[in-house]
């Protein structure tokens, strides 16, 4: 039965044969962000054979994003807190890769993970994966699309750690499709990865602690930031003060951001939102309005702020499709997103599948590192150091408090006009979705999508998912995308055939 990459028929075969990833790894890690990177090097340190697969070209994920070496950035660490933590692990990764302990596959996007027997014998009868007795299958197959030529790579491993992180939650508003309106995380990524500014006068808006970081980076890089417009009230953290006080690192981080903001004269407007962006070819100004506790814009509070860019984001959403494809159980996190349901050893509900970092709930880079290490201990069958467990509890408690404070209020849809495009890919305005819900019996996001095409385009609802769910009167369901990225037809046609 052909399962190693060199047996894959089709255009990928020759390329794959040159890769050293043949054979069965002890652990495959998907995602080389803080969680995946920490897990991979820790597990390798314990003697496991690890394959680390990441869609990005360089390790570090979303947080430790850094410029390509050819850009010649002198001090990438200038834009990062905790750069040392990353640098140490990156060194370890290089050492383990050199020794052959870790096979690192950058530029590889995993589109599905299946139990090996399922890849071989069809039809099969296991949902969720794993057998009826709750045992893990002997091996998993991770199918990836690799490199600009998009060739097929299959990785086999005894255990899988999903550290696929998160993506940014976008809540649309009139004018959000204008050039110059960018994701807050995207702006940060642009800055970290390519040292490019989205504009010269940038309003930062949305909700979540990321906004302060983004505003700080933009200001330090020379942009004017007329305002940080935050929909929540930071007083929302007050109940979590105990958690905050147990998190000295977080406090320090906040102080750094706060200090940077003060130095650059950035105004922080809490309980406010950008309810419209204006401009013809490009954004020229935004309307900012006060919100009530449910995020409903208050009449008569609107004012205009001129700008040439808006960096907007409403927190992050765990990226779960590989996990949900395997049948991993999810839970509703404090910030309203669906996150994986994990036990103390970072195990998902599917035996043989672990997870760490933001897939288990949005919490930031530090807990991601900690959880990656805990998972590595667990996979290797080592006892987990109590200090790690304590740190995780502390960091997670803080993240929950923060998540609760920034959870979008139901009233935000009040700033959507009927003609505001909600799904950019398929150009579906809010009015069509409202009609599907009110007149056609769409009681959930899936039906709203079927009746309007919202979420059927290129991004497969990553952008409009939260908005469509809100308009359908639902909380966003866990992502379900059997293919986690577009896969060329020839790759599917070239999969190893089932027996017979």
């Amino acid at each position: 039965m052909p399962t190693s990459p060199s047996d894959l028929p089709g255009p990928g075969a020759q390329d794959a044969a040159d890769h050293p990833e043949e054979g069965l790894a002890d652990l495959a890690v998907v995602g080389a962000g803080p969680a995946g990177l920490a897990a991979a090097v820790t597990a390798a340190g314990f003697g496991l054979r690890v394959t680390l697969i990441d869609a990005g070209e360089r390790p570090g994920g979303q947080f430790y994003r850094h410029p390509a070496p050819q850009l010649g950035a002198e001090r990438p660490e200038a834009l990062h807190h905790g750069w040392a933590a990353f640098a140490a692990r990156e060194r370890a990764l290089r050492a383990h890769t050199a020794s052959g302990r870790v096979t690192y596959l950058p530029g590889h996007h995993v589109w599905t993970v299946v139990p090996q027997d399922a890849a071989q014998d069809a039809p099969q009868d296991a949902a969720p994966a794993g057998d009826a007795a709750g045992r893990a299958p002997a091996a998993w197959v991770l199918h990836a699309v690799a490199g600009p030529e998009e060739h097929a790579v299959a990785v086999r491993a005894r255990a899988v750690l999903l550290a696929t992180g998160s993506y940014e939650r976008q809540l649309p508003f009139p004018g959000w499709t204008l050039p110059g309106v960018v994701g807050a995380g995207g702006a940060q990524a642009m800055l970290k990865g390519g040292l490019v500014l989205p504009g010269r006068r940038v309003v930062v808006a949305g909700s979540g602690p990321l906004l302060l970081a983004v505003a700080g980076s933009l200001a330090s890089a020379g942009a004017r930031v007329p305002a940080v417009v935050e929909a929540a009230a930071y007083t929302g953290y007050a109940p979590a003060l105990p958690a905050l006080l147990r998190n000295p690192a977080k406090l320090a981080e906040g102080a750094v951001y706060g200090g940077a903001l003060l130095r650059h004269g950035v105004r922080l407007l809490t309980r406010h939102a950008v309810t419209e962006a204006h401009g013809t070819d490009r954004v020229e100004a935004v309307t900012v309005a006060r919100l009530d506790a449910d995020w409903r814009p208050l009449p008569g509070t609107a004012r205009r702020i001129p700008c040439d860019a808006v960096a907007v984001g409403h927190g992050l959403v765990p990226q779960l499709e590989l996990a949900t494809g395997l049948g991993c159980a999810t839970r509703r996190a404090a910030d309203g997103t669906a996150a994986l349901d994990l036990d103390a050893l970072q195990r998902t509900s599917v035996p043989g599948i672990w997870s760490a970092g933001e897939t288990g709930g949005i919490a930031g880079a530090q807990p991601a590192l900690v959880e990656g290490e805990i998972a590595a201990h667990a996979v290797a069958g080592r006892p987990v150091p109590a200090a790690l467990v304590r740190r995780r509890a502390r960091l997670r408690a803080f993240a929950d408090a923060m998540g609760r404070a920034h959870r979008p209020g139901e009233g935000w849809t009040g700033w959507l006009r009927d003609d505001t495009d909600v799904c950019r890919c398929e150009e579906v305005p809010a009015g069509r979705i409202r009609e599907a819900v009110a007149d056609l019996g769409a009681g959930d996001a899936r039906t709203a999508k079927l009746l309007t095409r919202a979420g059927m385009g290129w991004c497969q609802g990553r952008m409009c998912g939260p908005a469509v769910a809100a308009l359908a009167g639902e909380e966003q369901a866990p992502d379900r995308r059997p293919l986690s990225c577009p896969v060329p037809m020839r790759l599917l046609a070239g999969l190893p055939p089932a027996d017979g």
């Binding site: 949902a127 969720p128 398929e426 599907a436 769409a442 079927l450 046609a493």
Partner: protein, 389 residues
């Protein structure tokens, strides 16, 4: 709460079949309520592709139903909003070699005898009809009566046009009877009284029959569909290879497939669907993807480099003899069935609705109901049982 008029019928299921029953019941002057535990089209209808095919059916009761439906869909296209995306684009069945072509000719001959239009196309004509088709095919048949709708829209618009009372998000938990005859249903929220109940619960129709104290052996048959990125117009008709016909009539539990390839107005090409009996297994079958992709690329080589954006699946409601159950159940007075349409429920919905409405009003049905009678299966105790959602 508006005052409720007494109901003539409660229809269980807001899929395309329940919607069509509601539509034609209303046209016959009946007051109907439609109950679904989910939203409109949340069941198999939302996973269907919307092919309205006569081409894949051999002469017999199902083809009669399909031909009746083909005409009804044309009328509906004029009456319902354009959002149902009715498109009479025609089907093109390809015979890879001479043997297959001979078989296809005989098949088409039988279909023509009962009113199907089928036009043979030689290799040159095939290229003209589908310029991107792989060369070297022996020939094929064009079926101008094959058409397409958007299934979820069709169900939603049929329901809206019916004016039926809608109860969504309410599961039917009991079929109420008095003296052996149906008198309504109980849902998770209320009781609905009516002298007739229509079981249009699709793949879950066996459960409703059970609630009414009888049996119907509806089983799930899984199908996967691939959706590509939006492409310029590559595929003009519904195109599939001749071996698909054999699959439809097969009772085998093993995976079978022969991709129906078609372009959509929005650009993506749809490729579906596989057929396998694996209960309600929701896990991804890479084998199903491999076969669909392979067959699509064999028919249209340009598709090999197209990207597949998503794959989805659904569970067709099937009965052992591959015919739906339509009409009154003699075992339970007042109970009617309209389920088990397998891979053709979108296409067969209007004819089913017309037959059910006729049965409800005592009108002469346009087709004999006998082949679809719900009590045609052997003792339910002997049937295998599958449950789940």
């Amino acid at each position: 709460m508006p005052k409720r008029h007494p109901l003539d019928v409660v229809i269980v299921g807001a899929g395309v079949v329940g919607a069509a029953c509601a539509y034609y019941a209303a046209r016959a002057g009946l007051r109907a309520a439609v109950v679904d535990r989910g939203p409109v089209a949340g069941g198999t209808t939302g996973a269907g592709e919307g092919n309205l095919l006569v081409s894949d059916k051999e002469a017999g009761p199902e083809l009669d139903l399909a031909l009746l439906s083909a005409g009804l869909w044309r009328d509906l296209a004029a009456d319902l909003p354009e959002e149902i995306e009715y498109e009479p684009k025609g089907g093109l069945v390809i015979a890879p070699d001479e043997t297959a072509l001979k078989a296809l000719r005989a098949f088409a001959e039988g279909q023509r005898a009962v009113g199907v239009e089928a036009v043979e196309a030689g290799p040159a004509e095939l290229r003209e009809l589908e310029p991107h088709l792989a060369p070297g095919r022996a020939g094929g048949f064009l079926y101008p009566q094959d058409a397409q709708v958007q299934p979820a829209q069709a169900a939603a618009r049929l329901l809206a046009a019916s004016g039926a009372e809608l109860h969504l998000g309410e599961e039917v938990t009991a079929v109420l009877t008095a003296g052996g005859a149906v008198r309504g249903v109980r849902t998770t929220r209320r009781e609905l009284a009516a002298p007739a109940v229509v079981n249009a619960a699709g793949t879950w129709g066996g459960r409703i029959a059970e609630l009414a104290g009888t049996a119907l052996p509806v089983l799930p048959r899984r199908g996967f569909v691939l959706v590509t990125e939006p492409l310029p117009r590559v595929v003009r008709h519904k195109v599939y290879a001749a071996d698909y016909i054999a699959d439809v009539a097969s009772g085998s539990a093993a995976l079978q497939s022969s991709a129906v390839v078609e372009g959509t107005p929005a650009g993506p090409v749809l490729i579906g669907a596989t057929r396998e009996r694996v209960g309600f297994d929701r896990s991804l079958s890479t084998e199903a993807l491999r076969r669909l992709a392979g067959q699509a690329a064999a028919l249209f080589p340009v598709l090999a480099d197209a990207r597949v954006l998503r794959a989805y699946h659904g569970f067709r409601p099937y009965l052992p003899d591959h015919l739906p159950a339509i009409g009154p159940d003699p075992r339970v007075p007042g109970l009617l069935h309209a389920c088990g349409h397998e891979g053709a429920g979108i296409g067969l919905a209007p004819a089913t609705g017309v037959l059910v409405a006729a049965a409800l009003t005592g009108a002469e049905p346009p087709l004999p109901l006998h082949p679809f009678r719900p009590d045609r299966f052997p003792d339910p105790a002997a049937q295998p049982k599958e449950t789940g959602r």
